[in-house]
Symmetry: C2
Subunit: 210 residues, 2 copies
């Protein structure tokens, strides 16, 4: 027996609805920089600050993407490009969900980053250049990757045997060899306020805490 009451209309929750719920705009926060510059650390530290303020966030990095969504991709040039494309598309879905994705990938090529920027509306893509001298990154060498690259055990390692193309139009720049994490996070928060990421009430709380 079919019911005639079944009206198959479409109700839809929109991105502005979700942004209103969370009290902030959703933007892609895209960290780029050399291996060891501090992208992942800063993404996590900024997320912690945002979470304290009850913002909806997620960090996307090699740990949760490379074995999952991009688990079928190699490290060939073509697959690296596809890797960044998927991360971009996924980030776009997160901003549709009202969530702020913070991505931490070297993403050394301007063309790849530009492609992600062009996926979304103006203002939805916030590029953060995590600037740090190669010397410092190599000294940190947390995972011993630079040593391996210098010995030729890793091919096309960014900064050693493959170029890193510095951002020309990054919304935010942080210098991690001359500033502490806290200083970098404060700077990023100030810049996000300037970029109107937070709605009124939240912005006031941030202003009083910085």
């Amino acid at each position: 027996m079919k019911s005639d009451n079944v009206v198959w209309h479409q109700t839809a929750v929109t991105r502005p609805d979700r942004n209103k719920l969370h009290g902030h705009e959703s933007v892609i926060i895209w960290f780029t920089g050399l291996s060891g510059a501090g992208k992942s650390t800063l993404a996590n530290a900024l997320e912690a600050r945002l979470h304290e303020l009850r913002c909806a966030t997620i960090v996307l990095d090699g740990d949760n993407v490379r074995h999952g969504l991009c688990g079928d991709l190699s490290f060939s040039h073509e697959d690296r490009e596809e890797n960044i494309r998927r991360i971009g598309e996924m980030s776009k879905l997160f901003i549709d969900a009202g969530v702020i994705p913070l991505t931490a990938f070297i993403s050394p090529f301007r063309s790849d980053r530009r492609r992600v920027r062009e996926l979304v509306a103006k203002g939805d893509f916030v590029e953060i250049y995590v600037r740090c001298g190669l010397e410092t990154c190599e000294q940190r060498d947390v995972k011993g990757m630079y040593k391996k690259a210098r010995r030729g055990e890793i091919k096309e390692f960014t900064g050693i045997s493959s170029p890193y193309e510095e951002p020309e139009d990054a919304e935010i720049i942080v210098d991690t060899d001359t500033h502490t994490i806290e200083e970098c996070v404060d700077h990023m928060m100030n810049e996000l306020v300037r970029l109107n990421v937070f709605h009124g009430p939240l912005e006031e709380r941030i202003a009083s805490s910085l």
Copy 2:
């Protein structure tokens, strides 16, 4: 000048932190059923109800996935499998973000659905079988797809020229040819309460509204 204060420790916001923020667990709500059964409509209607309750949600369907993240995939058997795999991995990232993804894809094969179920922990995957007779779906034929399939213009159309494997272990079943959208949504909300998706305060509000 390098700062010695730079302690590159890792702070991390966890999924339980995010769930606490939102007041609910994050689970994948996976709608499956024939074309025209009402998956997308119900996903949107359930999302609207959840959003009213201030839950963090996102609907993933052909509209926002097929042109984006899965824009490189064809409709070959292999690519359909890859399509479902990516949607599964993406959904997993959403539950890590504390968001409830509601996916609306025919996903006709048990093996594909099982693979997604096995991606996440027990209880994180809630399969909803949107049950509706083929006859009714074909009568609705909102997009004229059944007509095309009957004329042989669409190959391997589920229910006509390709099988639909009914779920054997769906957590929730809704019958859309005998129930209204409202009735289906009420039933799904009751079931989500039973599955302990909502934290205490939210659960009380739901109980008083159902």
